[in-house]
């Protein structure tokens, strides 16, 4: 039987020159495979960065929301009053600034105006 089998081995053929460029083809395929592998390595990295960024935005947003809900509402009102107060102070200061140069009492001003020849008709005409 061994004799038959040895004969049989010769019945399988290989295309002529098959092994001549075999090593080159393998090296080409390995190069392609390496490129594929490096791309595969990069893709998960991008994914990780994306998910890290998305997680950060979500956590930051949630944190901000929780913080705003946790602040005492009276503090908010106090803050609002403070700002109104500041506005009033500014207005007062600005009003005082206009009257600083006029050294007259209210009675003197009324007297001054009554001495002037100003009647109701004149005032209305001036308003027009």
């Amino acid at each position: 039987m061994e004799k038959n089998i040895n004969k049989k081995e010769e019945s399988f053929k290989i295309p002529e020159g098959y092994f001549n460029d075999f090593t080159d083809r393998i090296m080409d395929n390995i190069e392609k495979e390496n490129k594929k592998t490096s791309l595969k390595d990069i893709k998960p990295m991008f994914k990780t960065v994306f998910w890290l960024a998305a997680s950060f935005v979500i956590v930051f947003g949630m944190g901000k929301l929780v913080f705003s809900l946790a602040v005492d509402p009276s503090q908010k009102i106090q803050n609002t009053n403070q700002s109104v107060y500041v506005d009033n102070v500014k207005q007062t200061e600005s009003t005082d600034y206009f009257f600083d140069d006029i050294d007259m009492s209210d009675e003197e001003i009324i007297d001054y105006l009554s001495e002037q020849d100003i009647n109701q008709e004149k005032l209305v005409a001036n308003l027009k």
Partner: protein, 179 residues
């Protein structure tokens, strides 16, 4: 050049490609015939052999001399060949084909099979063996490997291999007698 020296070259990035070329040149024909006897068709053998060498390239950095280099490469080639046949079987599942039918079809369709009728019948008999027996038969007769080497590649005891081989020879003889 000894395999151990080639592996030292492979572990140096400057000589890596050159070392791998040496390995491919040294083992391509032996591995080709090993795969060809399992998958039969030349075209399929070419695919399997390409995949085998790509796996060797990827795994060579982690090779630790637990076995000889060629034993390790034979094991990869064997596993690749058997996986290939399994995947072919799954693809032709709808037609109800088994591995033996697929291989016989490959033999009939292979333009690179050039045997006479007796050789064809002999090959048919070999293809009718269970896959493990067929592997042992091919490795012992065609490749003239020692049981100790086959044992390392197939990770089976030498006693079991001798029994497999004995059964295989008997079956092939019986089939040929019937023809």
């Amino acid at each position: 050049m000894q395999d151990i020296e080639v592996l030292e070259m492979f572990n140096n990035s400057k000589t890596k490609d050159k070392a791998f070329r040496i390995i491919v040149d040294k083992y391509k024909e032996r591995l080709y015939w090993h795969v060809r006897r399992i998958v039969v068709s030349h075209t399929d053998t070419d695919d399997v052999l390409q995949n085998t060498f790509i796996k060797v390239w990827k795994g060579l950095n982690n090779f630790r001399w637990d076995s000889e280099l060629y034993t390790w490469m034979y094991r990869i080639a064997t596993n690749e060949s058997l996986s290939f046949l399994e995947s072919k079987k799954r693809k032709s599942f709808s037609s109800g084909s088994n591995v033996e039918d697929i291989l016989l079809e490959n033999l009939e369709a292979d333009e690179y099979f050039d045997g006479d009728e007796i050789q064809y019948k002999l090959q048919q008999a070999i293809l009718k063996l269970p896959s493990k027996q067929r592997l042992v038969f091919n490795m012992k007769y065609y490749e003239k490997m020692k049981y100790s080497e086959i044992s390392e590649i197939l990770e089976t005891s030498e006693g079991a291999l001798k029994a497999s081989y004995h059964h295989a020879v008997k079956k092939v003889e019986e089939i040929l007698t019937l023809v």
